[in-house]
Symmetry: C2
Subunit: 505 residues, 2 copies
């Protein structure tokens, strides 16, 4: 006698929650590695991680689990397009089928290759020598081609890889939106470059003692709604946010004495990720309805709080007095308008992670185009440095003086993350559309921000975005929330509204 669908459903949910439990253990170890572990512990930590990775992979591709999901997919439970169970079954089955298509040998080979490639990348960047990395990149792109072929794809190989980070997004749609963005961004960047106005960005490079930067960051993260009772803040080399359980989502950033902006916007960014995670349904932890919809949507929440809220004049009307109180010497005499202009300094630059809001998406475009060309075999890895520099000249009007500041700056490709970069641009695009919709529904928010009131916005986001988990692919969820398909308009409107007055365009 076949099992009733409810019993089957409970079984697959329990299995999915066990996968999440193992992944959360992996995440505790990862957090520890990045914030606390003595360096000497790295070797054994890699063994712990490999053990967990193997267990997780085996659970994900478990054949019984797959059979139950297939059976459920034909049951009345799955047929209801609006029910929680139906959405859960569809997402879990899609996850399982994708993972099950990948030969274990390929997964292991990618793991081995990318571990070595990341060491090679560090050396190549330190010595500004692309040749040290090139053989690893050749191998990684070849393996990613195999991966895409094993997964299958609707139109092009890149679709298969993009889908890992942004489920159901297509390369063609992504390319069209980014092309539209480029057409408007390139002239805007040129106009800003031609403006005689320049902010005094030295304001942010005065002496800011690290402990007070942390105190200020903590205060601002709490103000926008990051819940420290269910999280914590630590110091790390590369800022991140990680979720270790339904009530344990942690952020970590880095501080430099002469870079207030790096810590303040770093913490607003990571707190934005944290607010999304903390706004997910805890009763669905480890199941699709309790998980973020995509990397792009995740990035939209960090960018929304970092840029759309955190770099607004209204936000600093609230926050600058707090910053002045922490740093009376550095900021005592700084006017709000000057501070606001300083944190919105826009100019072409070479390094993505330091890029401003206007130029950032052009950095992404370069990577998006190059990784597609390499994956398709249209561009040889050996020619990537020259192609990189050419695109920087075309889009940003500057050329890297060396590969360390050019094609070698990001770890992503060495880590096997091909198809990941566009999620950064998607984050900016989604954020702008969602924020425009929030203002349309809630009314202007500047007055609330200036008074330190962020709860109405956070509540709106929780209700409209977070509580849906990954019931829908992110693009469809954003379209449903905003009533509009993905487009560059909202983002460009924001940029023009802010940068026009600042630079007198």
């Amino acid at each position: 006698m076949p099992e009733p669908p409810r019993a089957l459903f409970d079984q697959v949910c329990q299995h999915a929650r066990q996968i999440a439990l193992l992944r959360s253990i992996e995440d505790v170890l990862g957090w520890d590695e990045q914030t606390k572990m003595p360096t000497a512990g790295a070797e054994y930590r890699a063994e712990q991680m490999a053990l967990l990775a193997g267990m997780i992979h085996r659970k994900r591709i478990d054949a019984d689990y797959g059979r139950r999901l297939a059976e459920l997919a034909e049951s009345p439970l799955a047929a209801d397009p609006l029910g929680d169970a139906g959405a859960t079954i569809r997402r879990l089955r899609r996850d399982h089928e994708k993972k099950a298509k990948l030969p274990t040998s390929l997964v292991e080979e990618l793991a081995r290759t990318t571990i070595l490639a990341q060491s090679a990348w560090q050396k190549a960047r330190a010595e500004d020598n692309f040749n040290l990395l090139a053989p690893s990149l050749e191998r990684i792109f070849a393996l990613k081609r195999d991966e895409a072929d094993a997964l299958g794809y609707p139109q092009c190989r890149y679709d298969a890889l993009l889908d890992d980070y942004e489920p159901e997004m297509r390369t063609g749609e992504m390319a069209a939106v980014l092309a539209g963005l480029r057409a408007e961004l390139v002239p805007l960047v040129a106009a800003i470059g031609a403006s005689p106005r320049r902010p005094d960005r030295a304001i942010l490079a005065r002496a800011f003692p690290l402990d007070r930067q942390e105190q200020l960051g903590r205060e601002l993260a709490q103000a926008i709604g990051y819940d420290f009772r269910r999280g914590r803040l630590d110091v790390t080399g590369h800022p991140f946010c990680t979720t270790l359980g339904p009530n344990d989502c942690r952020i970590a950033i880095r501080y430099e004495e002469r870079a207030l902006g790096a810590s303040v916007f770093g913490i607003l960014h990571e707190a934005g990720h944290g607010i999304y995670e903390q706004g997910l349904r805890t009763d669905q932890f480890g199941l699709p309805l309790g998980e973020a919809a995509s990397l792009g949507l995740h990035e939209s929440q960090s960018r929304l709080w970092e840029n759309l809220v955190g770099r607004s004049r209204a936000f600093w009307a609230f926050a600058l007095p707090k910053a002045r109180a922490r740093f009376p010497e550095a900021l005592g005499g700084v006017a709000l308008d000057d501070f606001h202009f300083a944190v919105n300094d826009a100019r072409p630059s070479l390094v993505r992670v330091e890029a401003d809001e206007v130029t950032y998406n052009l950095h992404i475009l370069v990577r998006f185009e190059l990784e597609q060309a390499i994956l398709d075999g249209q561009l040889a890895v050996a020619d990537a440095p020259a192609a990189w520099n050419e695109k920087y000249r075309d889009y940003l009007g500057i050329v890297p003086p060396n590969d360390a500041l050019g094609v070698l700056q990001d770890i992503h490709w060495s880590a096997g993350l091909v198809g990941y970069f566009p999620t950064y641009a998607l984050g900016n695009l989604y954020a702008a559309q969602i924020f425009a919709q929030a203002k349309a529904e809630l009314g202007p928010l500047d007055e609330a921000f200036a008074a330190g009131k962020f709860e109405p916005l956070r509540q709106w986001l929780a209700e409209r975005v977070y509580r849906h988990g990954r019931r829908l692919p992110a693009g469809r969820l954003v379209e449903k929330i905003t009533g509009k398909p993905l487009a560059p308009d909202a983002l460009m409107n924001n940029l023009r509204a802010k940068y026009g007055p600042l630079y007198g365009l």
Copy 2:
């Protein structure tokens, strides 16, 4: 065709290392829970821990593993009494057979009962109401009886439980040594009590800013040989030392502004545990030759560094100038002899964890005698509070004013740790014997300590104690190192040599 013994041996070692790998993951989560985790994360952390505990238990009792160990035990590899392989096989087989004797239902029932009992204990202690805990204790002692019966024992049930913490130690031997100790300690405590001399212990209760206590503690831990490149120091509620990998052994303590002694001796104690762990063979991590011999031997190393080194006059000849530099106001005018006397204040007290070196073992004796009596059914749980108070009067001359300061003070029984307490006394006994032997071989150490030179002692300990792992049961290892069976002499000699002059006895 049967597998050759070498291949079998490699298989069981790999299995044992996998158990250790899982346990080390458990330990990362435990460390995080006690030092970093937001309180709200506790519930999910318990799920993570339960998952790991189940995996570890299944691996430990794995039938194939057991069969391979049994086969190996008959092979020539196991026959060599001195070889590494033989010792490894004997220890692993013993571990497996003990675990395999325990019915899973009993293990699970104990886990459930002790989790609830620990909550009950917290409430009972807070409200000073033993009745709130009594039913849980009844159940726990009943389960521990079942456990002992399942394990089997040579003479008495308590043997089976003691063996968990101190392998191959027998209740009779333990009782004889502790009785000998009591016979000498009780009059010594009385003599100290009758002395008109008293140290000025208020010296240690002045204002000591927490950050500088940490700096001093770090300096002292490093001086005695705790390696921070393979460890770290954190803040916690209940001080501990934990090993997360062959090169990652961490300590954590707590600080109080007006209790310098608690942090300084806390850190020397935990660093002592850490020095033992860091001195184990890293190539044998996860195997018996790379593991501590017993809880008693572990405690001997924390006590050796805390008391025998850390409370010596020579140590403070080195350390007091450093403490004065950190706390010029509190310690600027304090003479070495006064400081030395203050850190060796001895007097009967009610709370074990705050007890001095002289009275400490009498606190252990009370617990050792009571837990045997309860286990044997000679003492009803309901009568434990009165029995406790009576023994405190007999051995220490004082009676707890309530149960919170009496029978309810320790978490051990609620956590199912019956047979654990004597390892604290064993630690003191082993430490004294080992330290006497070190001095016999190395010559007097005071001059070296006063000059901050602890490396000769640490090296000697590494060579004579640490590098053997648990090749031998701790008692036999100590006997081999010192040429003497376990006895109270060395400990009593130390106490008389130190306390005689201090109190003018």
